[in-house]
Symmetry: C2
Subunit: 165 residues, 2 copies
DNA sequence: AGTAAAACACTAACATGTTAGCGTGTCAAG
DNA sequence: CTTGACACGCTAACATGTTAGTGTTTTACT
């Protein structure tokens, strides 16, 4: 018969790959008292300087609503500072505080060392191939979108019914 | 000076890669009324049959506390069923319902089609390399863990202080 | 048999992901 | 100058990620 088996689950594979890598860094970040997202933001700010929230969204792969909360907590703990832009009242500028920069400076050698250990375990070729392939993947544009037949898909009637209505 | 720049952020790159892929499937899943996690679980159950929660955790890369909630919601909407195992009162067995299987069967062609479009955009070599590299990465074991100097890292004193204490 | 350790699913508390929508500020067309 | 479209950061509501810890059932060892 048909049954036409689906292709491998690529998003899942990428998730597993990411977990395989990040698991070796999580202990370091936990010990430093920052989350993965906070670390991404701090790194970006220390490497690129003052940035706007929307830039951080793109660079750190964090959606705007999440970023709002993350930045609020980081401001609370004194890792970053936010200031308004005079020329455009809509925009903000986020910068790392002295405390934030100090944390990055403290963590950098540890992160680098752990990365080296990981590289040793993976081997230079795999690491090189990894960056090569992923960079190519991320650079891909213009992937067409399949049209949904409108008839297919659609479970029962669970389409956003609020509880209190 | 030193400043010793850190290596590239590999977990971030993997996150970006995953987003580049999953973004093309999210509309399909949304339209079907299931989340990414629910889809991973349904696929696993339909391809491998009845599974225990801890197996689903491993296969679908979902932590136990998250899985508890996801399965509860899926049982609520009638996509899966849970039953206890007699031989071991601790364990459970999760299986897809008729409704769950039907959803997978409906979605399969759409997912496969979208995957084909993605493959066309990426090119066969890149897809092949992608799986090759990621499979090798996931398979890596025995990565040593860097010892944290105990003195380094550690922001101010924000180490799990409860609000009501 | 009897006990300590481990396995399993679960809860709790917090942080983030995801979608929809809101309010204000900016800018361009009329 | 005004209006309408858009950009930006935000809130709201729900689902999931993450860490710590709990209660119960098994298992291993004495």
């Amino acid at each position: 018969m048909n049954e036409a088996r689906m292709p491998r689950n690529l998003p899942l594979l990428l998730l597993q790959a990411r977990e395989a890598v990040i698991s070796h860094f999580r202990p370091l970040l936990n010990h430093a008292g920052v989350t993965e997202q906070q670390w991404r933001i701090l790194r970006a700010l220390c490497e690129l300087g003052e940035l706007e929230p929307r830039q951080l969204c793109e660079i750190c792969q964090i959606l705007s609503p999440s970023l709002t909360g993350v930045l609020a907590r980081m401001e609370e703990t004194g890792l970053v500072a936010r200031r308004k832009v005079d020329s455009d009242q809509r925009r903000l500028l986020v910068s790392p505080t002295a405390k934030g920069k100090a944390l990055v400076k403290r963590m950098a050698p540890l992160v680098t060392e752990q990365y080296r250990l990981l590289e040793d375990a993976l081997g230079p070729e795999l690491v090189r191939d990894l960056y090569g392939v992923l960079d190519r993947l991320v650079a891909v544009k213009d992937v067409p979108v399949a049209r949904v037949p409108l008839s297919a898909a659609r479970p029962a009637g669970r389409r956003k019914e609020r509880a209190g209505e």
